[in-house]
């Protein structure tokens, strides 16, 4: 048996890194177990000529396609949306675009304001200082004064508008709609040992420059300097409990595949909306026959993805193409509820720049815009560097039928049951997506695009994994309390996207990390009576 630790964190991604860094000041013995390893900046695709190609293989964001040794399979047959994640130090922040919006104040009061789902037990004001702290730690580029949000400070200047941002900004002005440069976890100046962005244009497959904020280069160096231990190649199978119903530690397989038991006083799950319920459901015992922390029966339920629509448009004029951060500006004109639209809640436009030549050719041929054979080269040239796309992030409302369970047959390479996803797109979301596609099309037409087409849902777009261990005040209707502690197991905490009560209509990483910092502060402030 390993030496006991005070705090054991499972997962070294967005939230695990933040909670580890925050707790480090307590001088407790803190250990983080991560099933993947470190990614070196020299490994990223943008170092090589095959930079676009590798996004379809070893840097694909779907684990069933990527199939690295650290990945576990996911049965996604019953879901139109496939999961995107990364298993390694940095987690999903390795393969995200760095789009970094916060939730809005109204997102925490969904039941009160709009009569659907549930209110969160915390509000925007609860997280406001943690959002700001996280922006500083990650190094977020933004422009202060966005009218879609309460005032928030800017850490550094925003990413460039470029040609794409200006063309779309003018169109949005003509329509009288909101837009703003996207808050971006991408450094626009040298910052805390990280070099500034040089517009590699391939953020989503990992940033060779280190300008994009993945937690392996933001929180983790600080946490390791503060003596947090990070053990890679360690895949957790289950959390064990003692006779008193308290978590006693975890069983995991180390990098040599040897089964080990790691005792701990406190266990923190940070594996996000699929990995966390998977471990909880696999942690069955006489005291918890339905899985750990699951007296409510809600572990794994209420999975929310943010079904994405994508609208792509081609212009006569040259835009930014493959240069610059993929993200450019956002619009939250249709974020807040307006019942005349036929749905409640709303969405964000994430307006993006273009793609490289490989994706230009593949996308063009897939949709029939670039022919096979004669005419291929002419069509390719007509489209190259003249495309923009908008990802529509639709708020997904919680439904218990959307869930994560354990697959009865499929396992990972360690023999641990794989997660199985059952998911359908709700009616409200469907209507919202139709509205959003029509509005995005309107935007592109106003911008002068000659060819606009849309797809909904985007298939490989399950980046946002939320709701499967929701927080709340009522133990019968939630898995953790308002500061992230399990209702059932008083030394078990969850700090990832699982605890989201609703999803909002924005990328969740900044909120996930703000929650992790908030839970860490609660742990620090309650050390004397943490388990009461």
């Amino acid at each position: 048996m390993n030496e006991p630790v005070d705090v054991l964190i499972i997962g070294a991604g967005a939230s695990g890194a933040a909670v580890a860094w925050s707790l480090a000041e307590t001088r407790m013995r803190i250990l983080c177990l991560e099933q993947g390893g470190w990614v070196q900046s020299t490994d990223y695709p943008s170092n090589g000529r095959d930079w676009e190609s590798r996004q379809m293989t070893d840097f694909h964001y779907n684990p069933n396609i990527r199939r690295r040794p650290a990945d576990y399979p996911i049965n996604e047959d019953a879901s139109p949306i496939k999961v995107a994640n990364f298993n390694g130090v940095g987690g999903g922040t390795i393969l995200y675009a760095g789009h970094f919006p916060r939730l809005h104040p109204s997102d925490f009061r969904v039941r009160t304001l709009d009569g659907v789902a549930d209110d969160w037990p915390i509000g925007y004001s609860t997280l406001e200082s943690y959002y700001a702290e996280n922006d500083r730690m990650m190094g977020v580029a933004s422009l202060a004064g966005d009218p879609a949000y309460p005032p928030k400070p800017s850490v550094m200047p925003p990413i460039p508008l470029g040609k794409t941002g200006q063309v779309l900004g003018r169109a949005l002005n003509d329509l009288g709609w909101h837009w703003w440069p996207s808050d971006s976890a991408i450094t626009t100046r040298d910052y805390e040992g990280r070099a500034k962005c040089i517009n590699l244009g391939h953020c989503i497959a990992g940033c060779a420059q280190g300008a994009k904020a993945s937690t392996d280069i933001t929180y983790w160096p600080e946490a390791l300097r503060a003596r947090v231990e990070l053990r890679t190649g360690c895949r957790v199978r289950e959390v064990s409990v003692n006779a008193q119903g308290m978590a006693s530690g975890v069983t995991y397989y180390d990098s040599d595949g040897i089964e080990r038991f790691q005792p701990a006083e406190v266990v923190i799950l940070a594996c996000n909306g699929i990995g966390t319920p998977r471990i909880l459901l696999n942690s069955k015992s006489a005291l918890f026959p339905d899985g750990l922390a699951n007296s409510s029966g809600l572990v794994g339920k209420n999975l929310m993805f943010h079904p994405y629509a994508t609208v792509q448009a081609y212009f006569d004029e040259e835009l930014d193409g493959y240069r610059g951060p993929h993200i450019a500006i956002w619009s939250q004109e249709f974020y807040e509820t307006d019942s005349s639209r036929g749905f409640v809640r709303g969405y964000t436009f994430q307006c993006n720049r273009g793609t490289g030549p490989v994706m230009n050719a593949i996308g063009g041929m897939r949709t029939g815009r670039i022919p096979w054979g004669e005419g291929h080269h002419a069509a390719c040239r007509r489209l190259f560097d003249r495309m923009s796309s908008t990802a529509v992030i639709c708020e997904d409302l919680p439904e218990e039928c959307n869930r994560v369970t354990l697959d009865p047959v499929l396992t990972d390479s360690s023999g641990i049951p794989a997660p199985r996803i059952e998911y359908r797109i709700g009616e409200n979301t469907q209507r919202m997506a139709e509205h959003a596609v029509a509005r995005a099309t309107e935007m592109y037409v106003a911008a002068g695009a000659y060819d606009v087409h849309a797809e909904f849902p985007m298939r490989y777009a399950g980046w946002h994994l939320m709701g499967t261990a929701r927080m709340g005040l009522d133990p019968a209707r939630s898995v953790v309390n308002e500061w992230g502690r399990s209702h059932d197991v008083k030394n078990l905490f969850i700090v990832d996207g699982s605890v989201f009560v609703t999803s909002g209509g924005v990328n969740p990483t900044s909120t996930i990390q703000a929650i992790a910092l908030y839970v860490a502060d609660n742990i620090k402030n309650r050390l004397s009576n943490l388990f009461d």
Binding site: G169, G176, P357, C380, S413
Partner: protein, 154 residues
């Protein structure tokens, strides 16, 4: 059932390689006018074959479907007929179609000659990066003038 590792599969036979080459050349033909090679040019096709060789099982199925749609002899068809078969292939079998497009485009569009012809420098993005103009920030003045649009909530 454990996650199945990639199992070694029988490598592509010579006739399958020849068919794949014909497919690549048909999909992206040479353009003497632009000074461009086709995707069946030896150096480019070597890359395609290398990718295909990693997963021959996934290559065989689209090739089989394409042959089926062609009446068994895709390579023998003239260019116009090949394009017509490919158009039907795209509609009837979108995923297998995309697979062949994917492995072909991934190799073709990283070739020096092809990148130069598109106006690109033949190099990876890192370490030199690219220039992107800042843009006109006064475009945001109307957005600012409108004032807050969020709903406040306690």
């Amino acid at each position: 059932m454990s996650q199945a590792p990639h199992t070694p599969a029988e490598p592509l036979r010579h006739d399958e390689q020849q068919l794949l080459r014909a497919v690549a050349g048909s999909m992206i033909p040479a353009s003497p006018g632009l000074g461009l090679p086709g995707a069946d040019e030896p150096a480019i096709f070597a890359g395609i074959l290398a990718i295909a060789g990693r997963d021959p099982v996934s290559v065989r199925e689209p090739l089989r479907l394409l042959q089926e749609l062609s009446g068994g002899a895709f390579a023998a068809l003239d260019a116009a007929r090949q394009a017509a078969v490919a158009a039907e292939f795209r509609v009837r079998y979108p995923d297998p179609f995309l697979f062949l497009v994917n492995i072909t485009a991934r190799c073709y569009y990283r070739d020096d000659r092809v990148m130069r012809s598109l106006g690109m420098e033949p190099r990876p993005p890192f370490p030199l990066g690219f220039e992107v103009e800042q843009g006109d920030w006064t475009l945001l003045d109307p957005v600012r003038a409108r004032g807050p649009i969020f709903r406040d909530a306690p």
